[in-house]
Symmetry: C2
Subunit: 110 residues, 2 copies
């Protein structure tokens, strides 16, 4: 029902994954995440996550003025960020695999 709790601890990973493809600013990242399937994501969540990741030293940032609206604060992965993405991705896969085996144990109707 509620994707909120499922996002806990995974939003970091999702944002890192999105940034791997291309640098982005908050509003854009939010749209990309929604387009990817995380449709219920809130903007405050994304901005908060970006801030956390930046404070953790995983991102660099630069501001680009826009003629189509307010300025845009771009974020980009640095080496530590790519490393973290790699490691978190593996943790995620292992975790997801564990959950899948739990669910498949006697077949939740899929």
């Amino acid at each position: 029902m509620d994707t909120t709790q499922l996002l806990k601890g995974v939003l970091d990973l999702a944002v890192l994954a999105v940034l791997r493809a291309e640098d982005g600013y908050g509003y854009d990242i939010m749209r990309r995440l929604r387009a990817a399937g995380l449709e219920e994501i809130g903007d405050a969540s994304v901005y908060g996550t970006l801030r956390r990741l930046f404070n953790a030293g995983l991102l660099t940032t630069y501001v680009v003025p826009s003629e189509e609206g307010p300025h845009r604060k771009y974020y980009a992965l640095n080496a530590a960020g790519r490393d973290q993405l790699d490691r978190s991705g593996k943790v995620w896969r292992a975790f997801a695999s564990t959950m899948d085996s739990l669910l498949d144990d006697r077949g939740v109707a899929a």
Copy 2:
């Protein structure tokens, strides 16, 4: 990194899945979850989850005295619990699939 945040909102599902296989009491469920791969899970998390699920009307409970130690408080899925397991399982699969596609670098850049 930390499986703690990954468990958020999924522990309910994991416990329901374990109980589908067979009735169980807290300590036993904890061991089964650890055996299944969630090795870092704490006992307080399991007991808390069981209480939440019970209060949500998804479980029934009965106490069985044991000659090998303290009494055991068994929990079992009821109809609502099986229903919830079914629905949460689907939500999980959809969510996991979304995350996988993000990590596989599809659905965002493409």
